[in-house]
């Protein structure tokens, strides 16, 4: 039950952020990007038990990026629009808060471990986007060279 509430609230929160980032004239982009955000959270919840925090973030963000790139090709829009909206449920806002809280409390062990964890998550998110966009670039190059060969 809690998970369902989380996914639904992720969806609506992403729609709010789509408005903040000025998607006003194309509501379908806002909805598609927000669906990406909930999708990412569902995959995170499915994978966290077996893979741990950082790897689950990597897998979930890869799925979000893949979804965004496919939607970008289908709707002829830049993929950034969907990635910016869809990454928000995974971005380590909680990590930043907890790191700061442990620092204030003077709990140095927990501070260092949560700082490292936050940085690792941030890198995992960036790496996932990197992997997927490299994949799509390679596909594009192969397609164009195949066209040249056939013509």
């Amino acid at each position: 039950m809690e998970q369902i509430i989380q996914c639904l609230s992720a969806f609506f929160a992403c729609i709010g952020f789509a408005f903040v980032f000025r998607i006003h004239h194309h509501p379908r982009f806002a909805i598609i990007g927000s669906l990406g955000g909930s999708l990412g959270w569902i995959i995170y919840l499915l994978t966290i038990q077996s893979y741990g925090d950082v790897l689950a973030n990597l897998i979930a963000m890869s799925c979000v990026a893949l979804y965004s790139e496919i939607m970008a090709r289908l709707l002829k829009a830049p993929a950034t629009i969907f990635i910016i909206i869809g990454c928000f449920p995974l971005v380590p806002g909680k990590g930043i808060y907890q790191t700061m809280l442990y620092l204030i409390q003077g709990n140095n062990d927990l501070f260092v471990s949560s700082l490292l964890n936050t940085i690792a998550i941030a890198f995992a998110l960036a790496l996932a986007i990197l992997l997927v966009s490299t994949l799509f670039k390679v596909i594009k190059v192969i397609k164009t060279s195949a066209k040249k060969v056939s013509s």
Binding site: F12, A13, F21, H24, Y97, L101
Partner: protein, 251 residues
């Protein structure tokens, strides 16, 4: 067709793309492709997160160059989409400069619905508070704090205060509001309310864009974005942390 005017128009499209925070490689590639489609030669583009130069040799043999610096960045994904469509159209059909000017004016004057932005801050903060484990009272409190955040950000934009100070002051104000409402027992979970409200400040975009830039070979831009992400996160932590220390008696 006046090629110098055309060249200026292309520069203006690049400026708008950069200003509304498109990725660096998108700015460079769009400029390069537009120049190529008009048959300009010796195209040189170099872009940073707040600056670009564009040079080319036109058909009459002259080689103008454009240097543009944009300091103020505001994310506007609608504009990025429209500009992307315009670039696509230009590369395909090579319209003349009057058409491009008209389109640029149209995109510049796309109405920003500030009511929707205001609503977005509230909805975003409220639902993220629920997302991080809050209940109904946290949702209501975070939504109201989200609305307050909108006014704080708006004030900073009018006064042209730099982004790091803006992030810090905003996170200070929102955590102070959350702590005060916690003190009067309006909310029961301080943590989820604060995290939900500060999600809108978290540098998600800088994190996601930085490695993309590095991948396409823009090491300087990627580094700049990474630094931006790190400093923004530090500013958030400083803002929230200072309020948690100062208002310790109320918790």
């Amino acid at each position: 067709m006046n090629e110098h005017e055309l060249f200026k128009c292309i520069g203006e499209i690049g400026r708008l793309l950069l200003r509304h925070s498109a990725e660096i490689y998108r700015v460079e590639e769009s400029l390069k492709r537009m120049c190529k489609s008009y048959g300009f030669k010796d195209i040189g583009v170099f872009a940073l997160p707040s600056y670009f130069t564009l040079g080319a040799t036109l058909h009459d043999g002259s080689s103008p160059s454009i240097i543009i610096r944009t300091i103020q960045n505001r994310t506007n994904l609608d504009c990025v989409y429209e500009l992307n469509n315009l670039v696509r159209y230009i590369c395909q059909y090579q319209p003349d400069e009057n058409y491009i000017k008209k389109e640029i004016e149209r995109i510049k004057n796309l109405p920003e619905k500030m009511k929707l932005v205001f609503l977005g801050y509230g909805i975003g903060a409220g639902f993220f508070a629920v997302f991080f484990g809050g209940g109904l009272s946290e949702f209501v409190a975070a939504t109201i704090i989200g609305f307050i955040t909108y006014f704080v950000v708006w004030l900073h934009e009018i006064l042209e205060i730099n982004a790091l100070v803006r992030t810090m002051v905003t996170s200070m104000i929102l955590s102070a509001c959350a702590i005060i409402s916690y003190h009067f027992h309006l909310i029961h979970l301080l943590q989820s309310t604060i995290i939900g409200c500060l999600m809108v400040l978290v540098p998600g975009m800088a994190i996601t864009n930085s490695l993309r830039d590095i991948m396409s070979g823009d090491y300087i831009s990627g580094q700049a974005r990474m630094l931006e992400a790190f400093l923004t996160a530090t500013a958030i932590a400083l803002g929230v942390g200072s309020m948690l220390v100062l208002l310790k008696g109320l918790i």
